[in-house]
């Protein structure tokens, strides 16, 4: 999408509005299942923001991995572990005001830093999936292998933890 055009502006405000509203729903909803589905909406909004940044591959990965896999995993986790009434399943704890104060302070400092910094915006460049693939197999090959190992370890670890230690096979 062409940067700076009217369509780009509209798309940015629409998508960031959807993303932030859904994220507020995730945090403020009392029902954990609604939070989990709104989390999926948040991820899709972020994927749309990637589209406005002309990062199509990132948008595809975001939609597949986050909205497809992570959100479904979270929903399964919610439904495996809930016990009481679902409408009161996501209560805040005793730190409500301290947490709000801490989060607002962090956001305040970050907003001040963003607005006060003179960003050196260059002409910008668009990255294709081919560029990313070439970088993965040349400069970033060692961390690519490391993250493959991490995913394998996480897979085995998740299976072992879910299965439990004393299960009879």
């Amino acid at each position: 999408m062409e940067s700076g055009g009217l369509m780009h502006t509209l798309a940015f405000f629409l998508l960031s509005g959807i993303t932030l509203a859904a994220a507020m729903g995730v945090v403020f909803k009392r029902n954990l299942v609604q939070s989990a589905f709104l989390l999926s909406v948040t991820f899709l909004g972020v994927a749309g923001l990637y589209m406005t940044l002309e990062a199509e591959f990132m948008a595809a990965v975001q939609a597949l991995v986050y909205s497809g896999a992570v959100a479904v995993l979270v929903v399964i986790g919610v439904m495996l572990t809930h016990r009481e009434q679902m409408s009161r399943s996501n209560p805040p704890n005793k730190m409500l005001f301290a947490g709000a104060f801490a989060a607002l302070s962090v956001v305040g400092v970050m907003v001040w830093a963003i607005l006060a910094t003179p960003w050196k915006v260059g002409k910008g460049s668009v990255v294709t999936a081919g560029d990313i693939g070439r970088r993965f197999l040349t400069d970033f090959a060692p961390p690519f292998e490391a993250v493959a190992l991490l995913l394998l370890a996480a897979l085995i670890g998740a299976v072992v933890l879910f299965k439990g230690g004393k299960a009879q096979s």
Binding site: L32, A55, V65, N90, S125, L150, F162
Partner: protein, 102 residues
């Protein structure tokens, strides 16, 4: 005219919402969801920087792909841990997880 700082502001607000949820939620899975929000906000920042300022634009997206991979591993292991605790202790409430004494 939408520029870099607009994306950074969205990322900052998303990070703040995630931090608020992380600090104030009582359910373990809600805490994991808040962490995912924070990771997403960081990814928005990285992709926005790679689009607008970077001399090496592909590197920013490669970083955020690594973050996505680590976040996927984190949520898988985190949910497995939550389920293991739920099976052993019959709770997913952070306030009840106080058996690690010092």
């Amino acid at each position: 005219m939408i520029g870099l700082s607009h994306y950074l502001l969205v990322g900052a607000v998303l990070f703040g919402l995630g931090l608020f949820g992380l600090l104030t939620k009582r359910n373990l899975i809600a805490v994991l969801m808040s962490i995912e929000l924070m990771l997403n906000s960081v990814n928005i920042n990285l992709v926005a920087f790679s689009r607008y300022t970077a001399t090496d634009a592909a590197a920013g997206q490669v970083f955020s792909l690594f973050i996505i991979a680590v976040a996927a591993a984190e949520v898988a292991v985190g949910l497995a841990l939550a389920y293991a605790i739920y099976r052993g202790r019959d709770t997913v409430s952070i306030d009840d997880m106080n058996w690690l004494k010092w």
